[in-house]
Symmetry: C2
Subunit: 367 residues, 2 copies
Amino acid sequence: MRFSIERGEIFSRLESVANAVAQKSVKPVLSGVLFRTTAEGKIELLATDLETAIKAVTTPVHIDGEGAFVVEAKVILEVIRNLPSGEIIFELQDNNLIVRMEKSKFVLPTISPDQFPEIEPTHGGIEIETSVTVLELMIDRVIFCAAKDEFMRNLNGVYWEIQGGYLRLVAADGFRLALAEEKIETDIEDRFLLTLKSMKDLQSSIKTALSDDLRIVYDGAKVGFYFDGIEMIARVVDAEFPDYRKVLPKAFKTRVIANTVVLSDAVRRASIAARLGSESVKIELKDQSIKLIAKSPEHGESTEEFDVKKEGDDILIAFNPRFLADSIKKIDTEEVELNFVDSNSPLQMNPVDVEGYLYIIMPIRLI
Amino acid sequence: MRFSIERGEIFSRLESVANAVAQKSVKPVLSGVLFRTTAEGKIELLATDLETAIKAVTTPVHIDGEGAFVVEAKVILEVIRNLPSGEIIFELQDNNLIVRMEKSKFVLPTISPDQFPEIEPTHGGIEIETSVTVLELMIDRVIFCAAKDEFMRNLNGVYWEIQGGYLRLVAADGFRLALAEEKIETDIEDRFLLTLKSMKDLQSSIKTALSDDLRIVYDGAKVGFYFDGIEMIARVVDAEFPDYRKVLPKAFKTRVIANTVVLSDAVRRASIAARLGSESVKIELKDQSIKLIAKSPEHGESTEEFDVKKEGDDILIAFNPRFLADSIKKIDTEEVELNFVDSNSPLQMNPVDVEGYLYIIMPIRLI
């Protein structure tokens, strides 16, 4: 088995597939990428951690013979990353993969492909269409709010909801929640939960996509993402995502419109004192003015004050400044809207004049 | 005591001075920067870890009253970094420093300036002149070869030698050595050793300099560096740097000229297999060709082969590829010269047609 392939072609495909490789695995074969010739004279690349699997097909310049091998993902990526552009020759000799380009030659040990787990495709199920651009934006807007702790199985991921002609992604960690929704053409209603690891793999993979079409298939147990010749299969999480609608505030008593950059700078400065101290920043809304106050016994006190547009009641409320900062960073409209109920109820933050994107942040109890 | 100062002016000065702040100190005052009004109506900034001290003078827009205070370096740097350009007002109230700009206000606790150690200036001694540009280059070319281990007192630093109309910097860690020399106008002969920490402080500080003149004073115990209104005092190390001349090979049997980028790429690729394996790359020089061979039981084998200009004997020799890569990175001429004695003697690597810069790398014994 021998084939040659353009460096640029194989590298982007390999990078995409390698996202699924297990970070720490007891099975050595799972730290590898499977290379396999197809009946159509192409090369299929495959990686999986048994939770997520990514497959890509790449077109060789020349191909000679059939076969398959598994090679350590980290090593083959390093090798190809460090080769210049041009044609790379791959050749399987006994149990070694020979990689050759001009006067560079690598002899890499391979693992038997028999040990590589078979990836089951999705079977039937529902199907929706969206685009790489839209999904990339939606993931970026919610993923950082997912719980990092793998033991919080129902929050350590992103919840997908297809309902009423919308695709909705929701992530929450108990202190905050992010929601992104976009119109799609479908009358299907369904929902599933994917792990944070699967979501990160998907995020990294779609980044490398050169075409925009994206198809999502859900068969009740697995979700398949199909885009730019890449197929990603992710197992859904068998856990119940909490009813996020219960967290969404129903009626607001205070509505504030602030300049996004001004608010963001003020929160960042308030964080200097808060960060090493109480991890809390007090927000005082009075008339058309907002005041951010942070204190720490060691690092002193900071106050920021500026004008905003306000409707409704004055309010005094406190937050973890990091949660405020994380969400503001994701708001790219000139103005940001802050909606409050009272000092003990969550804040809803959203861009002005953009529908379907919002953040809910729990306040810290004022002492 | 109250003064105002332009954000850009205070920030660059503070950044420079803060380099000397103790990283981990039992004395809290050493993690601070001393601010002090001078008789000329300026503000003096001072930081020290008792080994290195940096002082800078900065010009306020307005100044009112006299005084001094010490404020946590990390916090004041963070505060000023996050303020926009414009005039910042500093005011000492009781034991707090009030920092104000438009509607941002910080109240920062201060430490009594009485606890701040007095920095003794250099007393008499020898004096030489060079430039920030030259010294920056020289430090960059040698500092990475200094031993990282603080317990190797005589190698954990950079050796300075003023001799025969040259300023020479030498660093070594027992496996490799770097030497940089530049002509200076002096007939003084002297030498001293500075710690790696002092050298790093100096390197960071001169980076921010806006003017090029640099004066060095050595009084037998301390070295003073004077540039761009900044004064850095470093205590010399009371340890004997080994006689580096003994390490410099006397006569070579093989001289090779290679293209720097080609050699650098080849070493980088050879490192993929070597890095996780034996940490060794074999170099085979035969006729007008060089071959780099690296092997590891887990990650396979790599071979690189390309043409070079060679004079003298063929040779087979092995090195730690990281040491080769580190030094090649610092060679910015199109071609690099490799000078060999035999398989058990150190390699001398130097740029082609640039005098005064060289690297000595110990080989690994071939089995």
